[in-house]
C-alpha cells in the first residue's frame, strides 16, 4: 500500500517525466523581463522610424577569425600590459642600447669624449636611431620624454612600483638578469674607484 502511495505521489509530480535545464526557473523572470525590454525598444523604434525598424541589425564589421574563442588569461595579481612598448623589437634594442650606453658613460667616470667600446656602442645607437622612420622616431621621443620633469633620480624601488612591473612584464628573466649583472658591475667598479 505504501509503495503504491509512493508511486502515485511520484506520478503526480508535475515534473515527471520531463526535465528542465539547471537553474531554469531561477532565470525565467529575468529572461521574460529581457524580452519585455526588447519588445519595448522595438515598438518605440517602429513608431519613430519604420525604415530603421526594417533594417538588419547585423554588424557589417569583421573581426579576426576565432577572436572570441581565445581563452581569457589574466594573471591573478598583476595584469599584463595591453599595449607594451617593449613588444616592438626596435624599441627593445634601442632602449637596451641606450641603457648600456648610459651605464658605460657612468663607468667611464663621466668622460667628456667616449672612447673604445663606449664609442662603438654610441655609434650603434646612433645608427639604430637613424634607421628609425619618422613615426617610430616620434614614438621613441614620446617614450623617452613621457612623464619626465627633469627632477627624476635613477633610484627605482621595483618592489613598490607596480607600474614598473607592468612595464617590464614582457622583458624576459634572462634580459633582466643580464641588466642587473651589468648594473652591479658598474656600481662595484664606481665604489672601488
Amino acid at each position: 500500500m505504501t509503495d503504491r502511495q509512493t508511486i502515485n505521489n511520484e506520478l503526480k509530480d508535475p515534473r515527471m517525466p520531463y526535465s528542465v535545464p539547471l537553474g531554469y526557473f531561477e532565470g525565467l523572470a529575468e529572461q521574460v523581463l529581457t524580452r519585455i525590454r526588447q519588445e519595448e525598444a522595438k515598438e518605440e523604434l517602429g513608431t519613430l522610424s519604420p525604415l530603421l525598424q526594417q533594417l538588419s541589425k547585423k554588424q557589417p564589421y569583421s573581426t579576426p577569425v576565432g577572436y572570441f574563442d581565445f581563452p581569457v588569461n589574466l594573471p591573478a595579481s598583476e595584469q599584463a600590459p595591453v599595449r607594451s612598448l617593449f613588444s616592438r623589437t626596435w624599441i627593445r634594442y634601442a632602449v637596451a642600447a641606450s641603457v648600456i650606453a648610459a651605464g658605460i658613460f657612468l663607468w667611464m667616470g663621466r668622460a667628456e669624449q667616449p672612447t673604445g667600446n663606449a664609442k662603438n656602442v654610441i655609434i650603434e645607437v646612433k645608427q639604430d636611431i637613424q634607421q628609425l622612420n619618422e613615426k617610430e622616431e616620434s614614438l621613441l621621443q614620446e617614450f623617452v620624454s613621457a612623464g619626465m620633469t627633469g627632477q627624476e633620480t635613477a633610484q627605482i624601488d621595483i618592489q613598490e612600483r607596480a607600474a614598473d612591473k607592468t612595464l617590464l612584464a614582457d622583458v624576459s628573466e634572462q634580459e633582466l638578469n643580464e641588466f642587473l649583472e651589468q648594473s652591479e658591475f658598474i656600481t662595484s667598479t664606481e665604489t672601488n674607484e
Binding site: E30, L52, Q59
Partner: protein, 183 residues
C-alpha cells in the same frame, strides 16, 4: 560547471580558488556585447581590442569591490563607455581622427576603410549615419538601437536623465533616417 547568473559569478569571484574561472565566465558571458558596443564607437578592430582589454582589466581590479545593489551589466557598460570616451579623447589630442562640427570624433573615414565596406549596402550606410552623430548621441543611439537598453539603465550608464536620453534618441533616429534617405 558553468555559472548561470551574475550573482553566482560574483559569489565565486570572492573565493580565491574560483576567482579566475569566475572571471573567465564573466568575460565569456559579456565579451561580445561589450566588444560590439566598443567597436561601434571606435570602429577599428585593433582599437576596439585595446579598449576592451583595458575594460576587462578595470573590471578585474574593481569586481571585488563591486556593490551588488547595482546591476553588473550596467556597471560593465559604464566602464566600457568611459574607456571608449577616454580613447576617443586621446585620439582627438593626438589629432589622429577628424572632428565633427561640435568637436566630436568623426570616424566616417575609418568606416569607409573597413575591409568589406560597400557604400551601396544599407548596413554600411547605417554605420556612416551613426558616425555622423555627435558622440553622446551616438552612444545613446547604439545603446538603444542595438543593445535595446532600457532608458532607466542607460541613465545609470551615461549619468543622464531618462527624459534627456529619450529626447536624444528620438533626435538621433530622425537624423539617421534623414541620412539614409537623403545621401
Amino acid at each position: 560547471m558553468p555559472l548561470h547568473s551574475d550573482a553566482e559569478i560574483l559569489l565565486a569571484f570572492q573565493e580565491p580558488a574560483k576567482k579566475e574561472s569566475a572571471f573567465t565566465q564573466l568575460v565569456r558571458k559579456y565579451q561580445e556585447r561589450l566588444y560590439w558596443h566598443v567597436r561601434r564607437m571606435v570602429v577599428v578592430h585593433d582599437d576596439a581590442n585595446d579598449v576592451i582589454q583595458n575594460v576587462w582589466i578595470r573590471v578585474w581590479k574593481g569586481l571585488e569591490n563591486f556593490r551588488s545593489d547595482s546591476q553588473l551589466y550596467t556597471w560593465l557598460y559604464r566602464i566600457a563607455t568611459n574607456e571608449c570616451l577616454s580613447f576617443l579623447d586621446q585620439q582627438k589630442r593626438k589629432g589622429a581622427v577628424s572632428l565633427d562640427q561640435e568637436g566630436g570624433v568623426n570616424l566616417s573615414e575609418q568606416v569607409r576603410a573597413e575591409q568589406y565596406f560597400d557604400a551601396d549596402k544599407a548596413e554600411w550606410k547605417l554605420q556612416l549615419a551613426i558616425q555622423a552623430l555627435p558622440e553622446k548621441q551616438k552612444l545613446v543611439f547604439t545603446l538603444r538601437y542595438y543593445d535595446e537598453m532600457p532608458y532607466e539603465e542607460m541613465s545609470r550608464v551615461l549619468e543622464t536623465s531618462e527624459g534627456a536620453l529619450k529626447a536624444s534618441y528620438h533626435h538621433a533616429v530622425k537624423k539617421v533616417e534623414d541620412y539614409l534617405l537623403n545621401r
